[in-house]
Symmetry: D3
Subunit: 285 residues, 6 copies
């Protein structure tokens, strides 16, 4: 299991506050001593992700709710499969249901998408990366889901990698000057530069970046770029970017690029269809 983000508890707390607000007026209909037992199933195949968010939801609501997980983050699950069992005070189980499932259906969606792209390029040496096109406030959660789906994380934010684009190059004067300026300003941080043509790539390789992003290159140009890189600067990584779909991703990977970044992993979401089914038990004596 990849590392969990520190924001997890805060994300869960915010979600509970926005859903519960002044109090769950429906759960108040259930006797405070009523207990319940149930399970959550998926109605469709998916890659599971978000178990820690579900656990945290019930930990914050009522530690007396017990969960028993039947699958782990990153596991492929099939339609009708039980994901977890749940048991405890009925009010807390009901009050937390939507918040818990909202996290699970979202993060499993992201992991499922990441797995689809990763599977599509299986056997190549290429890797799928995410982008900064994420849902506001949920970036670290989505990046965790990407890792659970077997893909990797591009930079987390503006702070952990220099990514030089057209506007920065214009400001610096040239590709070479931009890379040198970045190295001087941030000596121990990875420097990536975006190029739009093979001549730009040639200049970039000469200036020693860690990674070059090939922006909207044709597949032929990507192959040429890989040859150029192998010859001139074998340590530099190449990243393909722009309009890559599940249909086209394998062809891109086979050009020999090291990374393919895919905005669709985190900016689009097709929530996984989940369902909680409960049986009411006797009252707690």
């Amino acid at each position: 299991m990849p590392a969990l983000p520190a924001e997890l508890a805060g994300q869960v707390g915010a979600a509970l506050r926005e859903d519960i607000g002044a109090g769950d007026v429906t759960a108040a209909l259930v006797p405070a001593t009523q207990r319940v037992r149930g399970r959550v199933i998926t109605r469709e195949a998916a890659v599971l992700c978000g178990t820690a968010w579900v656990t945290e939801t019930y930990r914050q609501l009522d530690p007396a709710v017990r969960l028993s997980w039947h699958a782990a983050d990153g596991d492929a699950v099939v339609a009708a499969q039980v994901l977890f069992g749940i048991e405890g005070p009925a009010r807390a189980v009901l009050t937390g249901e939507r918040t818990a499932l909202n996290f699970l259906q979202l993060l499993s969606a992201v992991a499922t998408a990441a797995r689809a792209f990763t599977d599509a390029i299986a056997g190549t040496s290429c890797q799928i990366l995410d982008t900064r096109k994420t849902l506001p406030g949920l970036r670290t959660a989505q990046k965790y889901a990407v890792r659970c789906g077997g893909a990797g994380n591009h930079r987390l934010g503006l702070f952990d990698r220099v990514l030089i684009k057209e506007n920065h190059i214009a400001a610096a004067g040239s590709i070479t000057q931009a890379i040198h300026a970045a190295r001087a300003l941030s000596p121990a941080i990875a420097v990536e530069i975006e190029v739009e043509s093979l001549p730009e790539l040639t200049e970039a390789l000469g200036a020693g970046p860690d990674i070059v992003m090939l922006d909207e290159f044709s597949h032929a140009d990507m192959r040429a770029a890989v040859l150029l890189r192998d010859e001139r600067a074998p340590g530099v990584k190449l990243e393909a970017s722009g309009s890559v779909t599940l249909a086209s991703v394998r062809a891109v990977a086979e050009t020999g690029v090291d990374y393919i970044s895919v905005g669709a992993l985190t900016k689009h979401v097709r929530a996984v269809d989940l369902s909680m089914r409960l049986e009411f038990g006797a009252h707690r004596s």
Copy 2:
């Protein structure tokens, strides 16, 4: 324009913090005095939503950035249309770009989906509603987008409406007892109950709820439900729920139900494709 949520500034602040963190190491390459001018276009047709989030993003980053909006929340925009112009210090414009667009592409996606469902039932007296299946931490923003798309909001959270489901009925003893208990507990709040058959509906109508949710009813049963309601309790509203798609929504609306709630409006997201294009100007003297 519908009312803006109070969480707006907090949502923007959180998004900026997660993206900028220890600082934008790339923007630091641009001279502090450099100015820039540009515009944001949409690459596809959409219903615009999120202008206040974009404005707040730049207000928090640097009030010297000026925006000029060419369209308003709720407006239908077409591919290549300019959404807003932007002008100001280059560093701030670049640093805020992704956060601003992440809000705009998400909220426009929600408004666009809401408009598609609303348009599909045009001419009927039925209304589309959202659900609590939302992205954690972004509910009030998504509910605002739903309103911009012309649909309505179902309850905001667990606090502003009683929604009695199967488990609550079991706990209360019967449909009638559950509704009476809800009225007693929450005298001035709307009470909705979910039923799964016409006999359950008949019992529910006799107990005086404000709304009855018809869970996975066939279209024929929905029509029967409308007749029953008209006869027995004309003031009660009927809401269709469950597996309604853009293809089926009009047929559902034509059964005569008052509301159709659609989880897909807020749990799935197909981000609108936006692009910021900049021209660097002279330095600020």
Copy 3:
């Protein structure tokens, strides 16, 4: 017991931080191993409310403090009655005393006032409601207390009900136009309108609101309003508002209105007089 608000833990945390700050310099005089046992009594009759806030206070301070409650939220208690027993590390018990009692004396005061108004109209079909005239930051706690006292909650805030007043009517053009605009803007939300005379009521009833607020009506006019409503729009609720006191509330209820809203429930507070009495035990070995 009504539903607890999600803000509870945050309200307690803020109260503890404002009271403890840099540290309880007096409790530091007591040996860290000293234990204590005690009880909290009320010095006057009241309706108890706030037990969950007291529990949360000690849970945040030191989970080793044990509370045993002798009464529950909503219970009528009499002078000198023991409300709860307390046992645990002396420092934590002493440090939390004032914060715990500040919540309990405030929320019991609100519940007590709500019960007094509710009792005064016993036997009528009318119900007492609160208002938005609350103590800043404590609204959801006060609204919970109102429910514990047997009264109901008017809207929680500006977000969960349309309440059209004179100024909105002026902006919309007429009572009818205002109600129609509200329905269009907020299709699934309750719409209430304030009227100042019987002719205004007549117009309002024709436009189909959920509730009409009768602002400062005489008792005679209230009775006339009830008749008018019964005749023209029997599904619409009537709410009396303005200057209702404990002395006048029964007469108002007997006019046949459905609700009476009372700002005094939450804007005035007469804290219940409570006292914690402790006996120091042996040191913890």
Copy 4:
């Protein structure tokens, strides 16, 4: 004007969030360009307090709202007096009205109570102090209001003064030992001790506290306490505590004690009756 607390902006933000939540659904009925002008009057005599909270409310909501104050914190105002004029966008004025008035009616209530007690002892050398019996989360605001009413603040919290009570004396072994321990632990902080009899006072005076609190002393014993103090430890201050009312406070002050602490100043609230009256203007071009 006394010093404003740092929590002011946070208190206002929390109040606005709890009131506005997902958005003001009624203000949305008013055209966005509509402007309004009005004034807030008091319906009863009071000491004004809370102007900075009102200003901050509108500053956070919309800086285009302009306020013109006709009275300042600490001023005595009479029934029907105009407190401030207001002018600006109608939506923002309406949305902020309740939050602004909730602060003003609460803090003016506290200042009014403080002034009543202060006036009652005019001409004596005694001073009225507040206590830690405050509304949770609003302590610093209430303590500011107390100062505006002309009374003084007892300790702000558990951190800024040692206040030794019965339980601490028991833990320390004796009054003398408790005071010595406090001095050793907190060398530069004021030390106060509560005593319940004249013999206890005698022992306390010998140990050198800064202040002695006379708990529920008779007026005769207070006078004896003052004589004892003058003779044995003239630098020590005496504070009367317990069940002091507006009726009895002057008699207490005339015993010669230095301070009288009054829990009622901040634990009870009788909100001042305020009203905002608006006139709608032309639209903003």
Copy 5:
């Protein structure tokens, strides 16, 4: 042990968030079931401080981590001494190491400095105090460490003592007027005034402050100040301030002043050198 500040949990949470962010990518290399046992030693002599911050760090990360403390806050420890043992899940132990040690090395540094100054004046009746020259956001933690080192706290902030300086005197008109104004404005709060010469001291003593700060007085002038005080206002405390070092502090204390305030205690930090040593155990079955 002195009283712990209420901000402790918040300080730890902030530190964990800034260190862990999107997740500990290195700890993810260790199997989730791996357990570890170890101990933390100091590599140099120090006064220990910060045990509660370490405990809270692991409580927030993973309550399954167990700590066994071999020394307490305020204890003098020697090079190579074991401070605490640690045992638990290897990932959590590793992830929390740096945050825990950052608090412990900082707070022990402050306590060590405080003890050095305190020891230097042992046997005199003078006391060392800290100042408001602290690390932003860490003041209450540092003030706690000062107390653990045996020194006292000067005011916590701008709120708990009046400290009249040159600029305030100028604004008030004279030393006497400034002290009288402070008494009137803040009747129950300590009033301190800074003077720069013996004539100023003479005027100050006549106006009845609680403390006089002697700013940059020579040792001879301090002795004269003490005599003056003993003669004219024996209840007033004298505080020496300005450029006092470990070398000069005893001579200052021997002048007879009551307090010496030392900015260096909290504005300079020489972190104590600590080390965590671990042994990996078998996996948790």
Copy 6:
């Protein structure tokens, strides 16, 4: 100027709240209309850092305070040099003085230390880096100061680089396995490994890390390490770590290592000695 961290406003807000609390009781002595003008000087040579924190302090307190900076972050300043002028309402200037200077004296201290180490290795191709040994809650501010001093940032936290140490190697089985595992888990993130001997370095170089940290190597072994790296894996960077002082740093740099990480930059602080000098002007009319 390097990029500013997003936490800046939050750090300033927290510092103001801890200093001002319930209000500045001394500034309240100054008339609200009094204006003041002044300047801040440094009493010793330093590298300036923290101007944005000072600006933000006064922006939050009172935007009417005007600052005019005479030097910028990263500038070397000399004793008695004026850093900035200040002008505005006297109360706000006085209230913010300590918070503003606390940031400036701390961050300038860090930048000054970074500059000293950087200057000591001038002319070599080596670079000084900081560590995660920082003041809790202030890491991003300190890392900014390190950049202003001309040194670079090592990882920001546990999230932006894999740093494999002895315990992780033991868990993974071998150096080679640990590096391979890290690459698989975090495909697009830098991987660094710590080695304690030349044979360990040899194994590490064969497994393809981005950086190798040489832990407590002798200078001779560092030179051997550089030769080994040049021969076997020229693209891998070498970082010297452990007990490097200002006296020894040049000798370390001359061994040919690429980076030297220095905990002392951020864990020790010798605050720069600053002073604000004010002149009171006429009242604001």
